[in-house]
C-alpha cells in the first residue's frame, strides 16, 4: 500500500462550537491506482486529503485521532521540516482553482524550477530548465520552450491547470492528490486533463487520489471509489461494482439524482429522483447514522450507533445496517 489513512478524525474549534469535519475515515491507495473520493460540499472529502500533507490549519483545526501512513511512515507525527521534504517531492497536489493557485508575478517556468530547486538544490540552471520544459511537454502544453517564459495571466484556464500539474509532477512524486482538478474547466478541456492524469498513472505507476463531486468523472477515471457523507465514508469499493450495484441508500439516491446523457431519451417533464432534506449540521451530528433523517430505509436501530462496515463481497464495503 502506498498510502493508508486509518481512522482519521479532524475537527475545527470555532466560536460556534466544534465542527466535526472528518469522523473516522479509513482509506488506502495502492501503487498505480486511482482512488476517487466523491461527496457533496461539506462531506469532509477535502479536509481528509488536506490532512495528508499537513495542510489543515491548526488551530482552529485539530487532528484528534488517526494515522496517515505513507509507505509505512506516519505523516502525522512528522515535524514541519520533515513534511517539507515530502510535500511536492513524493506527494504532489493540484488544487481546484488554476487561476488563484499560481503566483501571478512569476513566470510558469520560474514556478516549476522553484519547486524543483527546493528538492534538488544541486541542479544547475540549464538542467533545471530542461526538466521543467520536459514536465510542460509531458502535460501536453504546445511549444513548451516558449510557454516557459509566460506569466499565468497569458495562459487559458486549461493551460494553467496543466502548468499546475507540471509543477506537481516535476519532482516525480509517487502520489498525486487532485482536489477537484477539473471543476473550474470546460468539458472539452476536462477531457484533456483527465486523459493526462490517466496517462501518467499508466506510464509512471503514479498513485492518484481524485476528489470530485462529479460521479461521472469517477466512473470514467478511477479504479476504486469512496463515497463520503458528513465526514464518514459510507460506501467504498471498485468503481464498476459500486456503480452497477450500489448498496448504501445515499449512493443509490445520488446515482438516481443525476440526469443521464447515455440513457434513452426520457419523456419530457419526467421528474428526477431526489434526496429530500439537506446535509446535517456538522456541529451537532445525530447519534448513529448521519444519513438517518434523509434515508428511505431507516429503522429505529439506525440511531443506536454508527453502523459498522459490512463486506458485501469483492472489496465492496458499506456502512449501513439495513441494506437490501
Amino acid at each position: 500500500m502506498r498510502l493508508q489513512i486509518k481512522d482519521l478524525w479532524v475537527e475545527f474549534h470555532t466560536f460556534d462550537g466544534v465542527v466535526k469535519a472528518v469522523n473516522g475515515v479509513t482509506l488506502d491507495v495502492a501503487e498505480g491506482e486511482i482512488l476517487g473520493i466523491v461527496g457533496e460540499s461539506g462531506s469532509g472529502k477535502s479536509v481528509a486529503t488536506h490532512a495528508i500533507l499537513g495542510l489543515v490549519p491548526m488551530p482552529p483545526g485539530k487532528i484528534s485521532k488517526g494515522e496517515i501512513l505513507f509507505e509505512g511512515e506516519n505523516l502525522l507525527t512528522k515535524s514541519e521540516e520533515e513534511l517539507n521534504k515530502i510535500r511536492g517531492r513524493s506527494i504532489g497536489m493540484i488544487f481546484q482553482e488554476p487561476m488563484t493557485s499560481l503566483n501571478p508575478v512569476f513566470t510558469i517556468g520560474d514556478q516549476i524550477v522553484e519547486a524543483l530547486k527546493i528538492h534538488f538544490p544541486h541542479l544547475n540552471k540549464l538542467e533545471a530548465k530542461q526538466r521543467a520544459v520536459d514536465a510542460l511537454k509531458q502535460v501536453g502544453i504546445p511549444s513548451p520552450e516558449s510557454r516557459f517564459d509566460c506569466y499565468p495571466h497569458e495562459l487559458s484556464g486549461g493551460m494553467r491547470q496543466r502548468a499546475m500539474i507540471a509543477i506537481s509532477l516535476v519532482c516525480d512524486p509517487k502520489l498525486l492528490i487532485a482536489d477537484e482538478p477539473t471543476t473550474a474547466l470546460d468539458v472539452t478541456i476536462q477531457a484533456q486533463i483527465l486523459d493526462i492524469i490517466n496517462d501518467l498513472r499508466e506510464k509512471r505507476k503514479l498513485s492518484v487520489i481524485l476528489i470530485t463531486h462529479d460521479l461521472a468523472i469517477i466512473s470514467e477515471t478511477a479504479d476504486k471509489v469512496a463515497v463520503m457523507y458528513a465526514g464518514r465514508v459510507v460506501e467504498s469499493g471498485p468503481v464498476e461494482e459500486i456503480f452497477s450495484n450500489p448498496k448504501h441508500p445515499y449512493t443509490k439516491g445520488l446515482l438516481k439524482c443525476i440526469p443521464h446523457v447515455d440513457e434513452q431519451s426520457r419523456p419530457k417533464g419526467e421528474r428526477l429522483n431526489t434526496i429530500e432534506g439537506t446535509v446535517p449540521d456538522l456541529r451537532s451530528l445525530p447519534p448513529g447514522c448521519a444519513f438517518y433523517n434523509r434515508c428511505s430505509r431507516k429503522i429505529d436501530s439506525c440511531l443506536d450507533k454508527v453502523p459498522y462496515f459490512i463486506n458485501c463481497g469483492a472489496e465492496h464495503f458499506v456502512s449501513c445496517i439495513n441494506v437490501e
Partner: protein, 331 residues
C-alpha cells in the same frame, strides 16, 4: 395569438475594447455574432456551450439587461429593441430571469416577504395588501418554502432554498418567459435534482416558456424540448433534444457529447473512442475567419477558412452550421 412567444433575429452583441491614446475603441469582443431562433409558448430552449461562448450574454440580451448591437428581439409580437425605457419597464412583467449564484442575487437586507412582494407591488399596483399577502403565501408554497418563513432573511437559508426564493421572485410577476442562467450550477447534485423538478413542475402548472442556459449537457437534456449548441458567439447546431442526442451532426457537438463523462455500469455498452479536441477556444476578440471552429475541427479542410457561416436544415427542425455536412452521416 402569435405562435412564437419569442423570435430572435440576427442578434449581435459586441463589447468595445478601449485602449491606446485617448482611450479609443481599438477592438471589439464579439460575444454574440448573429443568433436567430424562435421559441413557442410553453416550450423550453436549452442553450449549451463552454465558458466564453456568449450564452450568458445572449440570455442577458433577451432580458434587455444588455443593449444589443444589432438585431431584433421580438417578444409577443413587439420588438423590444425599439421600445422606450418606460415602455420596456412595463413589459418586463412578462419576462424574468433566474441567476446562477443564489448567494449574490438576493438582497441581504430584504426579508423573503419583501423579496417576493416587491415585484407584485411594482407590476400590479391595484392589488390590496391582503391580496399581496395571499399571493406571496401561495408563491412560497409553490416553490417549496414554508410560508411561516416569510420574515426570514436570505442568509438564514441554504443554497438550494435561496434558489427557490429566486425562482419565486421571478414568478411573482406571472411572466410568460423565464430565462434561467445556469440555475443549478452552484448546487450539489442532490439539491440540483430538487430544483430541476421544481422548475418542471412550475412550468406544467403555469405554462410559461424557459430559455435554459447551462454548460451541463445532462441537465439541459433533462429539461429542454429544443437544444442549441453555441460556440464562440454562434449557434452551430439547433435541434430537438432527441435529434441532437441520437444524431449529432456538427463536429463540435459530437466532440462535446463525447467529452461529457457518463456513469458506466457493468451492463452499459462500451462507448466509442472519445473525441478529444485539441487546443483552446479562440479569443472572441479575433475569432478565426470562416467557420469559427475550423482550427480545432477534426474534419476541417482548406475551404473552411473562407466559408460564410449559415445554419442549414438537415432534417425537419434540425439546423447545422457546417460546410462539410455531406461527409457526415445523416440517418
Amino acid at each position: 395569438m402569435n405562435e412564437n412567444l419569442l423570435s430572435i433575429k440576427d442578434v449581435v452583441k459586441h463589447y468595445p475594447v478601449k485602449g491606446g491614446v485617448f482611450n479609443r475603441v481599438i477592438n471589439q469582443v464579439k460575444a454574440v455574432s448573429g443568433v436567430t431562433f424562435d421559441l413557442k409558448h410553453g416550450e423550453t430552449l436549452g442553450i449549451v456551450g463552454e465558458s466564453g461562448c456568449g450564452k450568458s450574454t445572449l440570455g442577458r440580451a433577451i432580458m434587455h439587461l444588455e443593449q444589443v448591437t444589432s438585431g431584433q428581439i421580438i417578444f409577443d409580437g413587439i420588438d423590444l429593441t425599439k421600445l422606450s425605457s418606460k415602455e420596456l419597464r412595463k413589459k418586463r412583467k412578462d419576462f424574468q430571469i433566474i441567476f446562477q449564484d443564489p448567494y449574490s442575487s438576493l438582497n441581504p437586507k430584504m426579508t423573503v416577504f419583501q423579496l417576493l412582494a416587491d415585484p407584485m407591488k411594482n407590476f400590479f399596483p391595484e392589488l390590496s395588501k391582503s391580496e399581496i399577502e395571499k399571493r406571496v403565501e401561495t408563491l412560497m408554497s409553490d416553490v417549496g418554502i414554508r410560508p411561516e418563513y416569510s420574515t426570514r432573511f436570505p442568509h438564514e437559508f441554504s443554497g438550494g432554498q435561496r434558489q427557490r426564493i429566486s425562482i419565486g421572485r421571478a414568478l411573482a410577476s406571472m411572466p410568460k418567459l423565464i430565462v434561467c442562467d445556469e440555475p443549478v450550477s452552484a448546487l450539489d447534485v442532490s439539491i440540483q435534482s430538487q430544483i430541476l423538478n421544481l422548475l418542471i413542475d412550475l412550468q406544467k402548472k403555469y405554462k410559461f416558456s424557459y430559455v435554459f442556459i447551462s454548460h451541463d449537457l445532462h441537465v439541459v437534456r433533462h429539461i429542454s424540448d429544443k437544444i442549441a449548441v453555441m460556440y464562440l458567439g454562434n449557434f452551430v447546431e439547433v435541434a430537438s433534444k432527441e435529434q441532437l442526442f441520437t444524431n449529432p451532426v456538427h463536429p463540435y457537438t459530437k466532440a462535446l457529447l463525447s467529452a461529457v463523462p457518463t456513469i458506466r455500469t457493468k451492463n452499459s455498452k462500451r462507448r466509442d473512442a472519445r473525441v478529444v479536441l485539441q487546443g483552446d477556444v479562440p479569443s472572441p476578440i479575433n475569432p478565426p475567419t470562416g467557420c469559427y471552429f475550423h482550427p480545432r475541427c477534426p474534419v476541417a479542410d482548406a475551404n473552411c477558412k473562407s466559408w460564410g457561416k449559415s445554419l442549414v436544415e438537415v432534417e425537419s427542425g434540425h439546423f447545422v452550421s457546417c460546410k462539410n455536412i455531406d461527409c457526415h452521416k445523416i440517418k
